[in-house]
């Protein structure tokens, strides 16, 4: 006599709906954390930028005053320009280094494991360590300047080219690149490994040269990795604070530093002004990243991959 099939006891109702509910329950914590924590932050930032800060005795909501003052000042656009310049320059230099580097690290050579580990080191340490390294290496009293004096290029630290504290931002870019090349390299190496050697071999057999293989076979295949890595790095660079604060050229500062200065001012009205800076920054960053993604999607669609 066969035993009867016992129905699932815990929940009543169709099995399919139960599964959906279970799925929802599993997504819920993530949603709650993001929605309330992150969403709360966004709402508060926007509210403050429109003049709502009763805790400082300021409530002029809704006032576009802070945006008007910000967007009408030339300083803001200069700051925005510097912010974008450092972010874009660092991301591009990072890509130019990490694409060939990731390919090189995927090649076979002695002690490749140790080299990859050493190159990964900056990824593991805080940004401020990178800044400390920039300070000891790149300053006018830094080690490079001392070596220059040692070999007789200069006889006063003032003669050493300005790397830190300049609006050219070489110091900032150096730190970004130092920190982000490992990240990009790691991301690209993962894509390279996943794609395998098949296409490379096929291209070789078809008689392509190394540079043809790179430009026409490898690069298009690792494009998704390039896009996602550069996206993350660019978004980070645009909002980064420590490096431009410590290594930047001062006024006009990048937008995150400008916001920080406003927040540090004893006058609380400036805090709201700072919020307007931060919200503007987020808007600009969101806009640029969406455009970038859109362009990329068009590229992918042209290749029939979306």
């Amino acid at each position: 006599m066969p035993k009867p099939y016992k129905a699932h006891t815990a929940i009543t109702g169709p099995l399919a709906r139960r599964q959906t509910l279970r799925d929802l329950a599993q997504v819920l914590p993530l949603f709650v954390v993001l929605f309330f924590l992150f969403g709360g932050a966004v709402v508060l930032a926007v509210l403050q930028s429109f003049g709502y800060a009763p805790w400082f005795g300021i409530n002029e909501f809704p006032s576009t005053h802070y945006y008007e003052r910000l967007w009408l000042s030339a300083d803001f656009w200069l700051s925005l320009g510097y912010t974008l310049y450092y972010a874009i320059a660092a991301t591009l230099i990072g890509l130019v280094i990490s694409i060939p580097l990731s390919i090189a690290l995927c090649a076979r050579f002695k002690a490749s494991r140790i080299f990859s580990a050493l190159i990964r080191l900056p990824l593991m340490v805080p940004y401020s360590v990178g800044i400390a390294l920039a300070l000891v290496m790149l300053g006018n009293g830094g080690l490079l300047s001392r070596f220059s004096a040692f070999i007789g290029w200069i006889d006063d630290p003032a003669q050493f080219p300005l790397i830190l504290r300049t609006h050219w931002g070489w110091g900032i870019i150096a730190v970004y690149v130092w920190k982000q090349v490992p990240f990009m390299t790691l991301a690209l190496a993962a894509v390279l490994v996943r794609k395998g050697d098949d296409t490379h071999e096929a291209a070789l057999v078809l008689g392509a040269t190394s540079s043809q293989i790179f430009w026409r076979v490898t690069l298009p295949q690792i494009m998704p990795g390039i896009v996602s890595a550069s996206l993350i790095c660019f978004a980070f660079n645009i909002g980064a604070f420590e490096a431009p604060f410590i290594l930047g050229g001062g006024y006009p500062d990048t937008l995150p530093v400008l916001a920080w200065r406003y927040f540090q001012d004893a006058n609380y009205a400036f805090q709201l002004q700072g919020m307007a800076v931060v919200v503007s920054l987020a808007l600009v960053s969101g806009l640029i990243l969406s455009l970038y993604l859109l362009a990329y999607r068009r590229y992918e669609r042209a290749r029939g991959r979306v």
Binding site: P4, Y5, K6, H8, P14
Partner: protein, 351 residues
């Protein structure tokens, strides 16, 4: 012994029906094969029987009990799938014991049953290996052992031999059939391989586009497929257009042919007829007195090992013939062939 019934079973994936109102009655202890091309809905049907998919509508019954809302853990089914789904982090022994251990069986009993089962599948010496250290056939035997040790009421096999090489496949077919005969449990097998289906099945359900096109014994389906699609799917046939006449003949590109059984379709309606490669007999010395004896020229000869396959130009059409390769003919040779009237099947155009 469990009887499995599918009643009006449907599954819709994002608007498109994958399984379309299937009704199927699997006799208890039967070995039923769901045969169809990939994407026809046979795997989805199996997964619904298993409980891994929820039907959009319809119901599944095991022995007069509606199990549609019984969750997969409680259905007492066994599943062996194409990639076996072995647990890579467990040894063979742990894999086989898994179903027993999650049921809380005492360790000693587990050990005993697992050892017995490993004996049956000839894997005792591999008990402590990991799946990554086994060959494909061994992995499959582990998968079967892991399933059988739980003594499922219904055994579900989802293309279990697709990832094996040809030689192993034949061995495993024998092994699975033997196991079924020994345990006698109701078995559903999903495959797209008609040889496998005919070898194993008590009955075959041919599925196209989420519907059962034909449900019959292998012999019946082979010899009398309901439509052209089924016919094409079941082995190699010459399929040609023809027009039946009321006197038991058809007009074909090869001339007027005699049929063994009276034509089912109405006379003078164009339809299609089917004739298996191996049914055609070649004999160049025979006289022209028999039924359906024609002359053809060999255009192409293929050596298939035990068989030779010839493509013949016969009157206005071409016919493909298979013959044992004891006597190899050359291209250009003119031969006489006979088409046995009882082997010519008219296909149901409407089905």
């Amino acid at each position: 012994m469990t009887q499995v019934q599918l009643k009006n079973l449907s599954k819709v994936f994002s608007g498109a029906p994958a399984v379309d109102a299937i009704d199927l009655d699997v006799v208890s202890g039967e070995f039923l094969v769901l045969l169809g091309p990939s994407g026809c809905g046979k795997t989805t049907t199996l997964r619904m029987v298993c409980g891994l998919e929820q039907p959009t509508s319809g119901s599944i019954w095991f022995n007069e009990a509606d199990v549609t809302q019984v969750c997969v853990q409680n259905r007492r089914v066994g599943l062996v799938s194409q990639r076996f789904g072995l647990f890579p982090h467990m040894t063979v022994e742990q894999n086989v014991a898994f179903g027993l251990s999650v049921r809380g069986l005492p360790a000693e009993l587990q050990k005993k049953q697992v050892n017995e089962m490993l004996d049956i599948v000839h894997l005792s010496e591999f008990a402590n290996r990991f799946p990554s250290q086994l060959s494909g056939g061994q992995c499959q035997r582990v998968a079967i052992a892991r399933t059988l040790v739980t003594k499922p009421d219904v055994l579900l096999l989802d293309e279990p031999m697709a990832s094996l090489d040809t030689l192993l496949r034949a061995q495993m077919r024998q092994f699975i059939r033997d196991l079924h005969d020994e345990y006698g449990m109701t078995t559903l097998l999903v495959t797209h391989d008609q040889v496998e289906a005919m070898d194993l099945a008590d009955r075959i359900a041919v599925i196209f586009d989420g519907r059962i096109a034909q449900l019959a014994t292998p012999e019946e389906i082979y010899q009398n497929p309901v439509n052209e699609r089924t016919a094409r799917f079941m082995g190699h046939s010459n399929i040609f257009e023809c027009t039946p006449s009321s006197d038991g003949h058809i007009e074909s590109p090869f001339g007027r042919l005699t049929l063994g059984t009276p034509a089912r379709p109405r006379a003078n309606q164009p339809t299609k007829a089917m004739l298996r490669f191996e049914s055609i007999q070649i004999d160049s010395h025979k006289s022209d007195t028999q039924h359906n004896v024609l002359k053809g020229t060999i255009k192409r000869a293929e050596f298939l090992g035990a068989m030779m396959r010839y493509t013949l130009q016969v009157a206005q059409g071409t016919l493909t013939v298979e013959e044992a390769s004891t006597n190899i003919r050359k291209t250009g040779e003119v031969v006489s062939i006979s088409l046995p009237p009882e082997q010519i099947w008219l296909l149901d155009a409407s089905a």
